[in-house]
């Protein structure tokens, strides 16, 4: 009996019994008082005081903030930001703070496991590392021999996956580096800016100087809900210095709350708004004439092509107030060139128009002259460590007669579109794919139509993954390799090339637990077993020291100076010295190369089909406490947000009789149903869409905390289109209606659709 329960009982009734229990437990044994620290020895100082501090690099998301791990008695007690870091200083976000619980999560993969039941059934046997690696090597060699190298595919993401990529490259397959990051996230924005500005303005990093902007424009970006510490810091610093904020979003997001002008746009119509703004600034002569004359190509063609897109036209399409639209663009133009038009990050929204939408953002940026000036997009300052020989495999050009990349002209550089790998695996066309390796990514919670992905997995001869915690993809694997966490291993050197460049390294804060191994160790072993000439260094420290050598450093020396080496940056250029890294050296308002590839050289308005009657569009996004689907099982983060809520417009809710906190099931256009999920009724959501935070509703029982908590957005996204440039998959092209108490509810149409926008038609199956 707990003592509190005892106290609740009547004192007279059980005093004697209670007394015995209290005495037995030694009630009122002295406990540490709050505030008492006098005379304590360092080891016994309260909290994290007196802990040993080890500098390292975070990987709770991909942003990689420098951190220090605080260790007491060999146990990691706390993580703080590295005070020497110019980007985050002593700060880490909620996830960064919770890294402690990743290390000590009882659900961690502890040793290599082999499937003993059917795929996806979840029955496992413990095996040795040797056995696991031998099996992987055997299957890779067998598949290569039987079906050729391209029958092997690798899905990878993040720091943990980089070494193993070399092993896959060495097999001769072209289906590697197919990072879901490109094909499910930044592919379209990367292509748009690579061809307009000449460099990756938004990819792993974003080079947008919000901290010095006079106006910040966010189109669908919810900074603060998607947290990358230095990025959020720059955003808030800008606002604090007086920057005006314009937010375009169907949902009243956390940054929308901070906006001076908020435009609750109809989902799928962002390009219409951007094109009308481009037309408006040209018609009203609000653009930067000097920049356009000296540094841009294709202005006349642009001017002609955007003529039909008036504010009035767009207002109807976007369901926005035309006066607010004008007010916003005039505010932006008034403060040019020091304006931050955010390039966006997650860009795979609607398929066909994704590149065009980001191209329009880039064009608007050029018209404002917001290039290499404070507040605009700026130049990277690369930090180059030395090389350690033999860390990369030399790959011979091996494009097969039929390639999964050639369908999309801009895929080549980024990898093989993941949708194509899945299709080829499922159909055996144009050639069979029989083996998948998966590292650092839970593809079932990342790539649209996970039902197809599961079917594809059933056709494989072999599938293995490398995991710290076994999500959906892991339970569909044949072998699971247990990864050391980022806090238990060395990795590659990490450089930051933004406004305050620096170099740092990830290194173990505590010893690796159980039988987990570092990604380098695994790749090193595989290379040996496969006779691949790569990774000649026994230990990570060896190549890291070689890479640090030209800078006059070693791991030891770097640690002695706080784990970080900073460099000066050169983000801005005067107009005279400005030369862009495009072929012409100019900012391409019209992209010749797109035309050469039979694609639109200028952005056009491409209609995105609206929800069918009775449905609304499913949109999703991030919450600051979680990353992808990989932190939901973290004890602390789970406690902050165990499940997601479906944001529903208050008027819609009233009409269909749903109250805040009601439980509903979502059903999408293909009849797929979700887990039950709680509804958040709010005035901050458009009536034609519902919003669901991403990554919840885990279907893996091996994640004991996250299993079945909330609903998965990804399992509702069964309909997608591929963009014609890079082949990325759209994620906002699925529609839902709601089921409550077994009754299917039709979503009323509160904001009527203009005739220019067609509705999606649901195919009736017999």
């Amino acid at each position: 009996m707990k003592r509190r329960e005892f106290i609740k009982l009547s004192a007279a009734g059980c005093a004697a019994l209670g007394l015995m229990e209290l005495q037995g437990r030694g009630l009122f044994r002295p406990a540490v008082s709050q505030g008492a620290t006098a005379g304590a020895t360092p080891q016994y100082l309260p909290g994290s005081l007196g802990a040993k501090e080890v500098p390292s690099v975070c990987e709770m998301c991909f942003w990689r903030c420098p951190i220090v791990g605080k260790v007491k008695d060999g146990k990691l007690v706390k993580i703080e930001g590295n005070p020497k870091s110019p980007s985050n200083g002593p700060r880490v976000c909620a996830r960064g703070n919770s890294g402690v619980q990743l290390v000590y999560d009882p659900d961690r993969m502890k040793y290599p496991m082999k499937r003993i039941g059917a795929r996806g059934e979840g029955k496992w046997a413990k095996i040795s590392w040797d056995e696991a690696l031998d099996e992987i090597v055997h299957n890779m060699q067998k598949v290569k021999k039987e079906y050729g190298p391209n029958a092997i595919a690798y899905f990878d993401h993040g720091a943990s996956a980089e070494f193993m990529r070399e092993i896959f490259k060495a097999t001769g397959t072209e289906n590697y580096t197919n990072e879901p990051a490109f094909f499910q996230c930044v592919g379209p924005v990367a292509v748009a800016y690579l061809n307009t500005a000449g460099y990756l303005v938004s990819g792993t990093r974003q080079y947008i100087d919000m901290g010095n902007a006079k106006v910040i424009l966010l189109v669908g970006s919810h900074i603060g809900e998607n947290v990358h510490v230095s990025h959020v810091r720059e955003f808030v610093a800008g606002l604090n210095k007086g920057a005006k904020l314009i937010v375009v979003d169907p949902r009243f997001s956390a940054p929308a709350n901070k906006a001076d002008i908020y435009l609750p746009i109809r989902p799928g119509t962002d390009t219409a708004l951007l094109l009308s703004w481009i037309n408006y600034v040209i018609q009203k002569n609000l653009y930067d004439k000097e920049f356009v004359r000296d540094h841009c190509n294709g202005f006349e063609k642009l001017r002609e092509s955007v003529k039909p897109y008036t504010i009035e036209w767009a207002a109807k399409i976007c369901d926005l107030n035309p006066n607010e639209m004008r007010k916003a663009i005039e505010l932006l133009a008034k403060h040019r060139p020091n304006v931050a038009i955010h390039p966006g990050r997650h860009s795979t929204w609607y398929g066909k128009e994704d590149v065009g939408r980001h191209q329009a953002l880039a064009i608007l940026n050029g018209l404002m002259g917001a290039v290499a000036v404070p507040g605009g997009i700026y130049f990277q300052t690369p930090v180059k460590p030395g090389k350690a020989k033999g860390m990369e495999v030399e790959v011979e050009e091996n494009t097969p007669a039929i390639s999964l990349k050639t369908e999309y002209p801009y895929a080549e550089a980024l990898g093989t579109p993941t949708a194509n790998i899945i299709k080829a695996t499922l159909t055996g066309k144009p050639y069979p794919i029989k083996l998948w390796g998966i590292n650092g990514v839970n593809i079932l919670q990342t790539i649209p139509n996970p039902y197809d992905t599961m079917e594809a997995i059933k056709k494989l001869d072999f599938i293995f993954c490398s995991e710290m915690l076994a999500g959906e993809t892991a339970i569909w694997s044949d072998i699971i390799l247990p990864d050391a966490t980022y806090l238990e291993r060395y990795d590659a050197i990490h450089t930051y090339d933004g406004l305050t460049p620096y170099l740092t390294i990830r290194q173990p804060v505590v010893d690796a637990m159980f039988e987990t191994r570092s990604p380098y160790w695994v790749a090193h072993q595989l290379a040996r077993k496969m006779n691949i000439n790569v990774f000649p260094y026994e230990k990570e420290q060896d190549y890291l020291n070689l890479q640090l050598q030209p800078l006059g450093l070693s791991i030891e020396k770097l640690n002695a100076q706080g784990g970080i080496l900073t460099f000066p940056s050169k983000p801005y250029r005067s107009r005279k010295e400005l030369k862009l890294p495009t072929d012409s050296g100019k900012y391409e308002l019209y992209v010749e190369d797109f035309a050469k590839n039979k694609l639109d050289p200028l952005p056009k308005f491409i209609t995105v089909t609206a929800p069918p009657k009775g449905y609304m569009r499913l949109v999703y996004g991030r919450v600051p406490m979680h990353t992808f689907s990989r932190t939901m099982n973290n004890l602390w983060l789970h406690n902050e947000m165990p499940e997601n809520e479906l944001w529903l417009n208050d008027e819609v809710a009233a009409k269909i009789g749903i109250k805040d906190g009601d439980i509903v099931v979502m059903e999408n256009q293909d009849g797929k149903k979700s887990n039950p999920v709680k509804v958040k009724v709010t005035a901050g959501m458009r009536p034609d869409a519902a919003f669901l935070p991403h990554g919840f509703g885990s279907k893996s029982p091996l994640l004991t905390k996250a299993y079945n908590k909330g609903a998965s957005d990804q399992f509702m996204i069964t309909r997608y289109e591929n963009d014609p440039y890079v082949g990325s998959s759209s994620h906002r092209t699925s529609f839902i209606r709601l089921i409550k108490d077994g009754k299917t509810l039709d979503i009323p149409e509160i904001r009527p659709l203009p005739p220019e926008i067609p509705r999606f038609e649901i195919k009736k199956t017999a």
Partner: protein, 248 residues
């Protein structure tokens, strides 16, 4: 006399929960209890417009802490020392008390009898009774006074990714908190009914403050319902300490 205080700037806050997690890590606060929390508010309509804001909350280290008054532990005399001047003062305290020199409300854990009175009394829900211990004890934010004693700043302040938390001494006119409270109009989260002088202040747009106050300002004097311990139980508990037989 000093009064330590904190100002939270909702214009800067993005509701990321880093503060809550840094506190949990620093003090090993067990799940599901909180010393420090973020409650997400809205988006809701307010008279000033639509608002989506947050309540980053913690112990308010009130001017008139009701938790102190309802603590039934025997009073003892303790000596307090002014960290700035070295001045010494003797005071009678129960298990929970307000430090006369810093204004920080603290708990002497070894004398806390785990009755939960203070937890029930706090109108902000800032205290919890840790029932995962063999002997439950009340616990809450200390303003990281232990860290301050070692030249550190509170864990939540240190980790705040946008520097939305400002900590300092409100009695010091040169301090940032003084300026934010007296010149920028930072507000205490209290109401007409419940006004016990909280020392956490909030800055923000009208609509955000409006939503925060509508949803989170206490309107009920909970401590008046706390009747200390039932008759006899206190004696029983005290007897248990001494190992004496008890007959009631």
């Amino acid at each position: 006399m000093s009064q330590y205080a904190m100002v939270i700037d909702l214009n800067r806050c993005v509701g990321c929960h880093a503060c809550a997690l840094a506190c949990r890590a620093e003090w090993q606060v067990p799940v599901p209890y909180h010393r420090n929390w973020v409650k997400r508010l809205g988006p809701d309509k307010t008279p000033e417009g639509l608002s989506y804001t947050f309540w980053p909350g913690l112990c308010n280290h009130c001017d008139h802490p009701v938790c102190v008054g309802v603590c039934p532990a025997d009073k003892v005399v303790r000596e307090f020392k002014n960290p700035k001047t070295g001045e010494v003062k003797k005071m009678q305290i129960a298990a929970t008390y307000k430090d006369p020199f810093t204004g920080v409300v603290l708990i002497e854990k070894d004398r806390c009898i785990g009755c939960g009175n203070c937890v029930a009394a706090c109108p902000y829900g800032a205290r919890y009774l840790n029932e995962q211990l063999d002997e439950p004890k009340a616990d809450k934010c200390t303003f990281c006074i232990e860290r301050i004693a070692h030249g550190e700043i509170p864990a939540c302040v240190k980790t705040c990714i946008v520097d939305a938390r400002i900590f300092g001494d409100l009695s010091d006119k040169k301090s940032e908190v003084y300026k934010l409270v007296h010149e920028k109009g930072a507000k205490r989260l209290s109401s007409k009914e419940v006004s016990i002088g909280p020392n956490i202040y909030y800055l923000g747009k009208k609509k955000d403050i409006s939503l925060l106050f509508t949803k989170c300002a206490p309107h009920e004097r909970k401590w008046e319902k706390v009747s200390s311990l039932p008759p006899g139980r206190r004696e029983m508990l005290l007897a248990a300490i001494k190992g004496l037989p008890t007959f009631i």
